[in-house]
């Protein structure tokens, strides 16, 4: 399947959000999509319950992050509420040894890749720029520079080609990033070299205060074919569609057919970060419309219809979420800040006389205070 989901060139990007491939309606009803269907035939009720649990746990991590920021325990938090289906659905389609390149908002990708509670909060607390070893999670450090990681993903995929491996790289970025040169350069490189990379554009409608219409006058998925990259525009609040579409894209890349591109149409329910005030630039009505399209409620409705949402299951997921939230909180509250001279560590892999001198000088300076206190 080398698909481009039918795009209406006259679509209003902000409102015509139903021009997407979908397997689960906003009301929670299963629908058939001829392209996507084949990719989730093995997804049974138990698998859907696992996706539901993932999304609930992610939402709880996110809520805990916001709360910790409000309480002064972390400096900043980029909420991902509303984007759970996109993050969980796509990340769960990756193999453990594939390599993900998430942006700062992809908390759910880090979670799905096996991130620990401390991995969600310590960087935002300011204890380190990142908290996990990229090689252990097969996941790059969450990127803050917009779109820069898309090139890293392509380079990694070019490396896979040269090693003769069959891993896939996944580049995650938002709709704002598609305006960046790096994302466009990444698509040129990926296409020209046939690199096994999947681009996942989370179109959450807003780049801080700029609506997607400032970034695009045509649906973003429509750009990829111009680079020779097949693409699909999926409902980003439909976890089944995200899973299926990503499985298609990953399979396409893994089989040596080159890159693929997904645009997941979703919505950032909260602010850009805890420093942002979205009430200054968007209407309550818009937020309410999207609240009715909630990705978790949608799966709940499906599970209820399938009689798989009993009290036992609900209690189990709630208990798991409570436990994870407590671990996240504990990771933040129990954080131990590294000793001062560690700021000089890892600037270089090999000795560098300039840094080494500054470390010695600053150590002497700090020791001077210690000597004063002793006397």
């Amino acid at each position: 399947m080398t698909t481009v989901h039918t795009l209406n060139p006259m679509a209003d990007l902000a409102t015509d959000v139903d021009d997407v491939a979908r397997l689960l309606t906003p009301a929670g009803e299963r629908v058939v999509d001829p392209d996507l269907q084949q990719w989730i035939e093995d997804v049974d009720t138990a698998a859907i319950q696992r996706l539901y649990r993932d999304m609930v746990l992610l939402r709880r991590i996110d809520a805990e992050g916001v709360a910790l920021q409000r309480q002064g325990q972390v400096g900043l938090w980029p909420p991902c509420q509303g984007q759970e289906a996109t993050q969980i659905g796509t990340a769960r389609a990756l193999r453990a040894d594939d390599f993900a390149f998430p942006s700062y908002r992809e908390t759910g990708v880090v979670y799905a890749r096996g991130g620990k509670p401390s991995d969600y909060v310590l960087a935002w607390r300011g204890e380190g720029h990142s908290t996990y070893n990229p090689y252990k999670l097969h996941t790059a450090t969450q990127q803050i520079i917009i779109g820069a990681q898309s090139l890293h993903a392509v380079g990694y995929a070019m490396g896979v080609q040269r090693d003769g491996g069959d891993q896939v790289a996944a580049a995650y970025f938002g709709d704002g990033a598609t305006s960046q040169g790096d994302v466009n350069e990444a698509m040129v490189f990926a296409s020209s070299f046939g690199a096994p990379v999947v681009f996942v554009c989370t179109n959450n409608q807003w780049a801080i205060s700029e609506p997607v219409s400032v970034q695009a006058r045509f649906p973003i998925a429509g750009r990829a074919p111009g680079f020779g990259i097949p693409s699909m525009r999926v409902d980003g609040n439909d976890v089944l569609a995200c899973l299926a579409a990503m499985r298609w894209a990953v399979d396409h890349a893994r089989k040596g057919r080159g890159p693929a591109f997904l645009e997941a149409v979703t919505y950032r329910m909260g602010p850009h970060t805890t420093s942002d005030d979205p009430t200054r630039y968007r209407d309550k009505e818009e937020v309410e419309i999207w609240r009715r399209r909630d990705p978790i409620d949608r799966v709940e409705a499906l599970l209820r219809a399938e009689d798989a949402f009993d009290d036992g299951f609900v209690a189990e997921v709630a208990a798991d979420a409570d436990a994870l939230a407590a671990e996240v909180r504990q990771a933040a509250m129990g954080a131990v800040t590294r000793e001062p001279l560690s700021i000089f560590d890892d600037v270089y892999a090999e000795p560098h006389s300039g840094i080494d001198e500054q470390r010695v000088a600053y150590a002497a300076y700090l020791n001077g205070f210690a000597a004063t206190q002793e006397s």
């Binding site: 390599f99 380190g128 720029h129 990142s130 070893n133 990229p134 090689y135 790059a140 450090t141 520079i145 820069a148 898309s150 090139l151 890293h152 993903a153 392509v154 380079g155 990694y156 995929a157 070019m158 490396g159 896979v160 080609q161 040269r162 090693d163 790289a169 040169g181 790096d182 350069e185 990444a186 040129v188 490189f189 020209s192 560590d345 890892d346 600037v347 270089y348 892999a349 090999e350 560098h352 006389s353 300039g354 840094i355």
Partner: protein, 336 residues
């Protein structure tokens, strides 16, 4: 030992590094069949194939950004930026990603990336083809910055840069590409003086001239001319701009007590400013007179027909020598 131009010496350095380590890749614009616009990568694609000698799209951020991903995957990419002035589109990837990934990941990710930049002026080139951007990279922690001045160093320091687990910005003076000299190709890069060490290019006793790249030749010419006036210049080829080898620099300054710094990059906040400040902090009581800088002017690189007024020449270096020696000079009688 063979006679080689600097371009050939670098070519041989690339060839041997690729032969020794299958993880070494070369990538850039026009580097394959053409062999690079300066022919520095001549015949490498023929020998190692298009998967290791990669002709890239014309996108500098793309070249460096994909090299980051390749390094993350365990490769050792050597990137060619076609001309100095073309590195700016890749600036974000170099200073925010290449320089910082090791620090960001607390040492888990290494960036053994070599960024080769044909560099600086004096060849009558068009606009954007004669820039001296070294200060931007020296100012960025996490990068090593080196500048070569002769074929032997070009060969050895390139091998060392490729072998280093740190990212290295490697500046090649364009106007020396065709300068020939004897090169020992069989020297083991691991045994040669490390790329972080400065080299005393000429010993002297009266004035220390600190310089790098193509200006080393200018400083050596100035030293020959000064000798006729009975003035002895010590010329230090810094070789590495990050870190600077202040042990070698300091020993020279303590001996001579007088310092001239010369480079062709603009003066304001340039490498010369850093050198003068650091030498003053370290060796103030040994200085007989204030150090003097001889640099390009604080102007955009001028058109080719006027570049000789921008790039410091032998006479401007000698004028600065007169100033640190309190001899009659261009500023004598000028109110400062």
């Amino acid at each position: 030992m063979v006679q080689l131009t600097m371009a050939k010496a670098i070519n041989e350095g690339l060839r041997r590094a690729m032969a020794d380590d299958p993880k070494v890749l070369v990538m850039g614009e026009d580097i394959g069949k053409l062999g690079g616009v300066f022919r520095v990568t001549d015949r490498l694609q023929e020998e190692f194939g298009a998967k290791r000698v990669i002709d890239t799209p014309l996108a500098e951020s793309g070249i460096v950004g994909t090299a980051v991903g390749l390094a993350l995957r365990g490769f050792r990419p050597v990137v060619e930026i076609q001309f100095d002035g073309f590195v700016y589109p890749a600036f974000d990837q170099i200073v925010c990603q290449v320089a910082k990934l090791h620090y960001r990941t607390r040492g888990n990710v290494r960036m053994p990336l070599t960024i080769r930049i044909p560099w600086a002026g004096g060849v009558g080139a068009a606009e954007h083809h004669s820039e001296s951007p070294e200060a931007y990279f020296v100012h960025t922690s996490g990068l090593r910055v080196v500048a070569v001045s002769n074929p032997q160093d070009a060969y050895v320091m390139l091998r060392q840069a490729i072998a280093s687990d740190d990212p290295v910005v490697y500046f090649e003076p364009k106007r020396l590409y065709h300068t020939k000299a004897e090169v020992h190709l069989d020297v083991d890069p691991a045994d040669a003086p490390p790329m972080g060490l400065a080299r005393v290019a000429r010993e002297g006793t009266d004035v220390t001239v600190l310089t790098y790249g193509a200006q080393v030749a200018t400083a050596l010419d100035a030293a020959l001319a000064a000798e006729e006036d009975g003035i002895s210049l010590e010329v230090i080829d810094l070789r590495s701009l990050s870190p600077v080898d202040y042990r070698t620099v300091g020993a020279s300054v303590r001996k001579t007590g007088r310092v001239v710094v010369t480079h062709e990059a603009a003066r304001e906040a340039g490498v010369g400013a850093e050198l003068v400040a650091s030498v003053t902090e370290r060796c103030f009581h040994y200085l007989e007179t204030p150090p003097v800088r001889v640099t390009g002017h604080d102007i955009p690189y001028p058109p080719a027909k006027l570049e000789k007024h921008h790039v410091p020449d032998l006479d401007r270096v000698l004028d600065a020598v007169d100033r640190v020696l309190d001899r009659p000079n261009s500023l004598t009688g000028v109110e400062q």
